[in-house]
């Protein structure tokens, strides 16, 4: 394994972590949007708010890490991706601004009207970003991003596979967040909300299953070679993914916090790696390999070293945050 392979693995790990955490944040935005009128939606919204507040910025940084690692390690591919997928990636950035800013602002917005509008924009942003990121991924999988020049700016992400993958990303986020929220409700003994989010987790899971099948069917019609690679190499991962997420649903219903998080992470990771394994050794199927697209070897080695440092630094900090949070040392401050 070369250093460039190592950087590629880091990228897929970053995608995995972002999918486990960030995607769930987007899902929470979807449930916030669908919670109904001010009175009816106030209780689920309050739960969503408490669950998201201390962690969303940290979760979000994985995307930044992903972007900068991509351009440092694989500048060539990054340039091609950003040129061809200009529209969906611009829209994803737009969604990030909408949701991040409005989530931060709405807590302190003075008037109910402003708060309501802010919440609405937060929800829209939460839909836009995962869909666009998923659609962009679909464009990569179906070999629509050329390594030189600019590919078709519309069909590269508005094609059956992209749309199915985009919707699948949404459904996965919705499923994950609903499952986590079942746990949050359980921890707080909120029986009605526990049931509320359990129903939603089931619905999102079912939708995700249908969309997953749809994505595979679309991929088969769109880019047969990639479909064959999924079927030949990564079908065990698909199975693990589906079982992992099914187990997540069952465990969340029982309020088994640790178990739920482990199975959810395993399920999502398996699905992300389904793509990673199928695409290896290509950065841009089937034109640019990791080897050919890699930047300088020395930079790859520094990136790997820095990744280790990052884990050593961020790990303890995250543990501190979670430990203080679990001990009840952190709380909303009205000062």
């Amino acid at each position: 394994m070369t250093a460039a392979d190592g950087t590629a693995v880091i990228l897929v790990i970053a995608v995995t972590i972002y999918a486990c955490t960030g995607l769930a944040d987007y899902g929470a935005g979807l449930w916030d949007l669908l919670a109904g009128g001010r009175a009816r939606g106030s209780r689920p919204r309050a739960l969503i708010d408490t669950a998201l507040t201390p962690i969303w910025e940290a979760n979000h940084v994985w995307l930044v890490f992903l972007l900068v690692t991509c351009w440092t390690g694989f500048g060539l591919a990054f340039g091609s991706l950003m040129s061809t997928l200009f529209i969906p990636l611009s829209l994803a950035a737009l969604g990030i601004v909408l949701r991040g800013a409005n989530f931060a602002l709405r807590k302190d917005a003075a008037r109910a009207g402003a708060r309501h509008l802010s919440g609405w924009l937060f929800g829209i942003g939460s839909l836009l970003t995962p869909f666009c990121l998923g659609a962009a991924l679909g464009g990569v999988m179906t070999a629509r991003v050329p390594s030189e020049g600019v590919g078709d700016q519309l069909t590269s992400w508005l094609n059956p596979t992209s749309i199915a993958v985009g919707l699948l990303a949404l459904a996965m986020g919705a499923f994950l967040s609903a499952s986590y929220l079942v746990l949050e409700a359980h921890r707080r003994d909120l029986v009605a909300l526990r049931h509320y989010f359990r129903v939603r987790a089931g619905a999102a899971g079912a939708a995700g299953l249908v969309l997953g099948v749809a994505a595979l069917v679309a991929l088969r019609a769109d880019e047969r070679e990639m479909f064959d690679r999924v079927m030949d190499r990564s079908w065990p991962l698909v199975v693990v993914g589906v079982f992992g997420l099914a187990a997540t649903f069952l465990l969340a219903g029982r309020g088994a916090a640790r178990g739920t998080r482990i199975t959810a992470a395993a399920g999502v990771a398996a699905l992300v790696w389904t793509w990673g394994v199928a695409q290896y050794p290509y950065l841009l199927p089937f034109q640019l390999t990791i080897e050919d697209g890699a930047g300088a070897e020395v930079t790859q080695r520094w990136l790997l070293a820095w990744f280790v440092v990052a884990l050593l630094v961020i790990g303890p900090a995250l543990l501190l945050l979670y430990a203080l949070d679990q001990r009840g040392a952190l709380g909303e401050d009205d000062g």
Partner: protein
């Protein structure tokens, strides 16, 4: 050939440069609040704990909330920038990603760490023990410095690109990302920016309380609200004056074209006048109007009127900065504001030394109330000087901005969307900060929830205290 390429400027260049400039200039407003405000808030926190000063603690606590909000908005606008590096300048990341990308990975981690520590600090006010809480906050300004270091390093690299060699085929060889990080422009640019951040945060926070002071709210809360941040800014300001002077002289030797544009030096030679403002004509390479001080530019650059200064005549027209007037005017504005702030700080120092209090003079207070905004104008102007002054190069004398720009369609659309969106975002942020401030003003200091107190038995009402 060079002329031909220059004439056929890609259609995406103008909107891409506009969008990048706009989003950077927006983001840079939030940066001082992430880099320097935590330090100011910790000073107040320390003072509060050391002397049992509840007013200082209240200030620290409120500043931490403002820092938290601007940090969150900055997280978002910073993410947009990392998208834009590829969306707008794929030519840069394609070719030089492995040379100068590493500091951005460092920044990612620093930012992550800062996000966690800020969350701990803000949500730790109620229930953590005082000194535990303080010490958990202490790393924040240092982590913020690491973040600022990495971003400034990448920008400094664009000014003095190092860590690679271009071979005879135009390929990059001998890449060394560590050399790229520690490039020549880094030390001064870093010092200049960090001092600017401390000045901006200090003067801005102080100016808010100066306004309250002018409106007659002359209590201890406002007094400390002025003195703590103003002192921080007052220490940074003279240092900044010295650093700024060093950078200008450094530029005269290392980026002479940029320096020539800053000072509108048209013809190389000794005895250069200092020209304030005026208009530059690129057709004839002359300056009309403005105020001329004979010989001063040569004296400032090298200590005597005989000092040779390189002029714009040494570079071909297509290699000159795209808008000399903008660079020159922004430089003059920045230096003008800095000079004014040095006077303001001297006044403050003398008055405080004599009376240990906020100066009484109305003129001082009016100027101080504008000092925050003025510092921001200077920061924006300085940023324009360094970015527009480097043009037409995205990587100085190695890659042209027009060669790095995207070939994708739709940049005008994205720029328009960004304009509208950021306007709304700015309005929202300001509205929320003002709402916070109004809510705080309604709370009598004594009635506010006590920091580090026991956990409240029941949820508190949203707005305690008298209306």
């Amino acid at each position: 050939m060079g002329d031909l390429i220059w004439a056929a400027e890609p259609a995406q260049l103008l909107p891409a440069r506009s969008q990048m400039a706009f989003t950077l200039m927006f983001h840079i407003i939030l940066v001082p609040m992430g880099v320097a405000l935590p330090a100011i808030m910790l000073i107040a926190n320390y003072k509060g704990l050391r002397h049992g000063d509840s007013v200082a603690l209240t200030l620290a606590r409120r500043w931490s909330h403002a820092a938290g909000l601007t940090f969150a908005v900055g997280a978002v606008s910073g993410t947009v920038l990392s998208f834009e590096m590829g969306l707008l300048w794929p030519g840069l990341t394609r070719k030089y990603g492995d040379v100068f990308g590493l500091p951005f990975a460092i920044e990612g981690v620093a930012f992550f760490l800062e996000a966690i520590l800020v969350a701990v600090y803000i949500y730790g006010w109620q229930r953590l023990r005082g000194w535990t809480h303080f010490w958990l906050g202490v790393p924040i300004p240092f982590v913020a410095l690491v973040g600022a270091f990495s971003i400034i390093s990448a920008n400094a690299w664009m000014n003095t690109p190092e860590g690679f060699t271009v071979d005879s085929n135009g390929q990059l060889v001998d890449i060394d990302p560590i050399d790229a990080i520690f490039n020549k422009a880094l030390p001064l640019e870093m010092a200049h920016f960090v001092l600017a951040a401390y000045m901006a945060a200090g003067f801005t926070v102080a100016s808010i309380y100066v306004v309250g002071w002018l409106r007659g709210r002359r209590d201890r809360y406002h007094r400390l609200g002025i003195l703590i941040p103003f002192t921080v800014a007052a220490i940074a300001t003279p240092a900044q004056f010295a650093v700024g002077d060093s950078i200008a002289r450094w530029l005269a030797n290392n980026q002479p074209t940029k320096f020539a544009a800053m000072e509108v030096v048209t013809e190389s030679g000794p005895d250069q006048p200092e020209i304030l403002f005026g208009r530059y004509d690129e057709q004839t390479n002359t300056v009309s109007g403005g105020i001329r001080i004979p010989g001063l530019n040569s004296i400032l650059t090298g200590g005597s009127r005989d000092t040779n200064v390189t002029g714009l005549d040494t570079v071909a027209p297509q290699d000159r900065p795209s808008n000399v007037d903008i660079v020159h005017w922004c430089f003059d504005i920045m230096v003008g504001i800095a000079s004014l702030l040095v006077l303001l700080v001297a006044w403050f120092a003398i008055a405080y030394w004599r009376r240990r209090d906020v100066p009484r003079s109305k003129l001082f207070l009016w100027t101080a109330s504008a000092a925050g905004a003025l510092t921001y104008v200077a920061i924006e102007a300085g940023w324009i000087v360094t970015e527009v002054g480097r043009q037409p190069w995205i990587v100085y004398e190695v890659e042209r901005t027009s060669d790095a720009v995207t070939q994708a369609d739709g940049v005008w659309v994205s720029f328009t969307v960004v304009l509208v969106l950021y306007a709304v975002l700015a309005a929202g942020t300001v509205a929320v900060l003002r709402a916070m401030s109004r809510r705080w003003r309604r709370q009598d200091v004594a009635d506010a929830a006590v920091p580090y107190g026991p956990r409240p038995a029941a949820p508190e009402p949203a707005e305690p205290g008298p209306r």
